[in-house]
């Protein structure tokens, strides 16, 4: 899957479901500090990733997912490893 497709899907989800502004959704945005995504929200992000990409998110693997860009990369890597 192309990275652009992943970025679009993740961004759409964050805008529709997490009610973020389009201007907030950029790769360098810090998930916790800039987007105010808290630990409970990661549970819903894992559900969304499963739904959109058919991927099982492993909590420990998410430790390095700090920015939105690193979330795209994480999904990109996992999708293409499938």
């Amino acid at each position: 899957m192309q990275k652009e497709v992943i970025v679009d899907k993740v961004n759409n989800f964050l805008i529709d479901e997490f009610e973020l502004e389009e201007s907030q959704v950029k790769p360098e945005a810090l998930l916790k500090d800039d987007l105010e995504i808290e630990s409970l929200d990661f549970v819903d992000i894992a559900v969304a990733i499963e739904k959109e990409f058919g991927l099982k998110v492993v909590g420990e693997e998410m430790v390095d997912v700090i920015t939105l860009g690193s979330l795209y990369d994480y999904i990109h890597k996992k999708v293409n490893r499938k």
Binding site: E17, F18, E19, E38, L40, D41, V43, D44, A46, V47, E50, K56, V57
Partner: protein, 406 residues
């Protein structure tokens, strides 16, 4: 002992989504009952139900505050906002003033069913989402509203079947009366969906007068054949009198008596003795003469046995005094179950404030017990000062509340 007053009310019901529309429905005897064909496809005996729309809270509450709320929590959020606004309490009030919440709720079926379906299908609990647990628990309403409104006092849910909302108010009254809290948001919430009442329908407890839904709920009438499930949410702001006066709050009524009892008998068949004791206790607590009561909002769900027993209990208590008016608002709303004890206090207050008694719909032919009571079938324009509201539930839990106009 402190005096306990009601300084705000809010309602989201099958009679309307706010106080004004509910008052109009009550005055004009407009029923909120309809027919849901989907229930018949699911194997229900009765497709009758109270008809209510889900409020849209997207854009009103941030996502994090919404995802943990089940349907009945959403109703309760809307009714609580209206009640707080009525009471003149703004968003910042609870940052400086401790207040509690005691709300009646006794089920949250849909999130529980959805979680079970998902686990069976996907065999992965991490896919249930973050809101599932907070929606599923019986305390879903109080846990969500306490966070949304930043409440820092007593915080718990009262689960007492169809008397839940009434006991919530009764217990709130005690907390304030004994000086433990100055303000408590009380109320009751009830989900409205087929899955939550399928097992109740299976007991053949629901009316099957499906041809004319608005004639199905007929408390005390000889032709009654069961209740109509319904729901929504009702919020009452209880406040310590001096404190309410000091902040210039609108004071609608005073809670002057609360009585409770348990039948200690059958799980679903009510008796006369239990409710009678609850009413007697409430009247004693209120220090009133029972014959001074102007209006009774009875439990009266339109079931054959329940109404007959309540009619006999009321006749025993009031004798042949026909001054006291009785009108069953469940004839319009259906049975609001966990919410009913709270909503019926609000219906009573709306009548008090607007000087009328709503009609008890479909009371056309009395039976041998109800013929001895003064059941109001047409709207009566009259001043109400003293009201008793009864609520009874499965397991024989009984509540009676006495309120006085201020």
């Amino acid at each position: 002992m402190k005096r306990v007053v009601i300084t705000g009310i809010g309602i989201y019901s099958v009679l309307g989504k706010d106080l004004e529309s509910v008052k109009d429905s009550l005055y004009h005897g407009k029923s909120g009952i309809g027919y849901d064909p989907a229930r018949k496809e699911m194997g229900f005996r009765s497709g009758l139900t109270g008809i209510i729309e889900h409020p849209v809270l997207k854009g009103i509450l941030p996502r994090r505050l919404r995802v943990g709320m089940a349907e009945q929590g959403e109703y309760a959020y809307v009714s609580t906002r209206e009640a707080l606004e009525y009471a003149g309490i703004d968003e910042g009030y609870f940052l400086n003033n401790e207040a509690g919440i005691l709300y009646g709720n006794d089920s949250s079926s849909i999130p529980v069913i959805e979680a079970a379906d998902s686990m069976r299908a996907k065999k992965d609990t991490t896919l249930l989402g973050s809101g599932s647990i907070f929606q599923s628990m019986n305390s879903t309403v109080t846990m969500n509203l306490s966070v949304i409104f930043k409440l820092r006092g007593i915080n718990m849910t009262i689960s007492a079947a169809c008397a839940s909302g009434a006991h919530a108010i009764g217990l709130g009254y005690h907390f304030i009366r004994y000086g433990m809290q100055k303000m408590i948001i009380c109320g009751g919430a009830q989900e409205v969906n087929a899955y939550s009442v399928g097992s109740f329908d299976g007991l053949s407890a629901f009316s099957t007068h499906e041809d004319e839904p608005i004639k199905a709920s007929r408390p005390f009438d000889a032709e009654r054949d069961g209740l109509v499930p319904s729901g929504g949410a009702a919020t009452v702001i209880l406040e310590e009198y001096e404190s309410a006066k000091k902040r210039g709050a609108p004071i609608l009524a005073e809670v002057i008596g609360y009585g409770f009892s348990s039948d200690g008998n059958h799980i679903s068949v009510p008796n006369q003795e239990g409710p009678t004791r609850a009413i007697e206790m409430a009247v004693k607590d209120a220090k009133i003469n029972i014959n001074e009561v102007d209006y009774i909002n009875p439990h009266a769900t339109s079931t054959p046995v329940g109404d007959a027993n309540e009619a006999q209990a009321l006749h025993k208590l009031f004798g042949d005094n026909k001054k006291v008016m009785i009108s069953a608002t469940k004839s319009m709303t259906g049975h609001e179950m966990w919410m009913g004890g709270a909503s019926e206090i609000i219906y009573s207050i709306l009548m008090m404030q607007n000087d009328f008694v709503a009609p008890s719909l479909n009371f056309e032919t009395p039976d041998e017990y109800s013929e001895k009571l003064n059941i109001v079938t047409k709207t009566v324009n009259t001043e109400l000062n003293l009201v008793i509201s009864n609520s009874f539930g499965f397991g024989g839990t009984n509540s009676a509340l006495v309120i006085r106009k201020m």
